[in-house]
């Protein structure tokens, strides 16, 4: 049973999730091989603690294992689903552990960890793409997004922290994510232009 599905590398993420839903452990292993790295990186960035980050990743992948039969590929990409699970676990943990940042989140590009050589090319491109898009956002929008997503702050906490009315935070957050989406898509279009 363990050896039955050796070669899963050619399968799409969504096909792997379908196999996980049938209880195929090797498919979960393959999903981990694809997303374990980014999942851990994100958890680590949110939690700033190794063992809590490991807990968050483990819980998220167990949620994938348990929830795979309810995943609807028409509704979202498997990558989105997995990263959403990871992010929610990490943020819930950071809130529970009262580990949220008091200092501002440093510029995302100035990080000490070098991407490993083994890291997949698609991931490196995706990271560059999103970081570039982030840099193009107006400062207050980027700040709102980063504090919410990486910092784990809720909207009303942000209102207090940034000294802006809650309504402003809500609309800024909406505008920021909508802008980011357009910028990311635009860059992706440019990229595909270059390669075609």
């Amino acid at each position: 049973m363990v050896h039955a599905m050796r070669d899963l590398a050619h399968l799409s993420d969504e096909a792997l999730v379908a196999l996980v839903a049938r209880g195929e452990e090797s498919a979960l292993a393959e999903l981990y091989d694809r997303y374990g790295g980014p999942a851990y990186s994100l958890s680590r960035h949110v939690l700033r603690d190794r063992s809590l980050a490991e807990d968050a990743v483990q819980e998220a992948f167990l949620a994938v294992w348990r929830g795979a039969d309810r995943f609807v590929p028409e509704r979202s990409k498997a990558a989105t689903w997995i990263m959403t699970l990871v992010h929610r676990r990490a943020v819930d943990l950071v809130r529970r552990e009262q580990r949220r940042r008091t200092e501002p989140i440093g510029d995302i590009e100035s990080v000490d960890c070098e991407p490993s050589a083994a890291e997949a090319v698609w991931l490196r491109l995706e990271r560059e793409n999103v970081q570039q898009a982030l840099r193009r956002l107006p400062d207050h929008q980027r700040e709102t997004l980063e504090l919410a997503y990486y910092g784990g702050f809720t909207q009303s906490e942000l209102a207090v922290r940034l000294g802006r009315p809650l309504g402003t935070i809500k609309s800024q957050m909406h505008a920021a994510l909508a802008n980011l989406r357009e910028l990311v898509e635009a860059t992706a279009r440019e990229e595909s232009w270059k390669t075609n």
Partner: protein, 214 residues
């Protein structure tokens, strides 16, 4: 009016940044609002891009095996997926791996549950492990070192309080992390017997594993 406001929450929801009651209200709203579902889907994809853009760091290599071991423990026991009804030999092999993961898993459970107030632990006799009992009596049996249940048989867990043992869960593997279906009141013990597959309403023998009293 309220409805109009609620439509603007999709971005905050995708970022997991809504305040808890608002998040819950929005979740309820999502069930009946296809356009918000669409917004959430699109926003979530962008948000997960932020996730992929986090600075890269390497997970420890053992995390992979720990996760896989935890899934084995999980469905050997907690959900009893029917696919686990395969021959004892394979189950034994899986259980060995599971037992390795189990120690870690139990450790995590311990640290997680132990930190919440009023959690206590009952020692087991007859197998390695313990019962973790929360203040409200909700309990998890963490155990290893049994033989996998023979064909046609299952282990059954009992909460024994006074003269009346009451069924509290089934498992078939040599090691398990099982959330009991019944609370363990003060003074009660937890026992394990071997029963026919499907379980019984009353234990057919004295317990092969028994815990200290809660």
């Amino acid at each position: 009016m309220e409805d109009e406001l609620i439509h603007t929450l999709a971005a905050g929801y995708a970022l997991h940044a809504l305040d808890p009651d608002e998040e819950q209200a929005f979740q309820t709203h999502l069930a009946t609002c296809p356009s918000c579902r669409q917004d959430v889907a699109a926003f979530s994809e962008t948000a997960s891009g932020l996730g992929l853009a986090a600075p890269s760091s390497q997970p420890p290599p053992e995390l992979r095996e720990r996760i896989l071991a935890a899934t084995r423990v999980h469905d050997n026991v907690v959900t009893m997926r029917p696919r686990w009804a395969y021959p004892v030999l394979v189950a034994a092999a899986a259980a060995t791996c599971a037992a390795i993961g189990l120690g870690i898993w139990a450790g995590i459970l311990h640290s997680r549950l132990g930190s919440s107030n009023g959690m206590h632990t009952l020692a087991l006799h007859g197998a390695t492990g313990s019962v973790l009992v929360a203040q409200n009596g909700e309990s998890t049996l963490v155990l290893s070192g049994l033989r996998p249940a023979p064909a046609g048989k299952t282990y059954e867990v009992w909460v024994i309080h006074g003269q009346n043992p009451e069924p509290a869960g089934l498992f078939r593997t040599a090691a398990t992390t099982l959330r009991l279906t019944r609370r363990v009141p003060h003074g009660a013990e937890v026992g394990v017997t071997l029963e026919r597959v499907g379980g019984s309403l009353h234990p057919s023998s004295t317990p092969i594993v028994v815990s200290a009293a809660a």
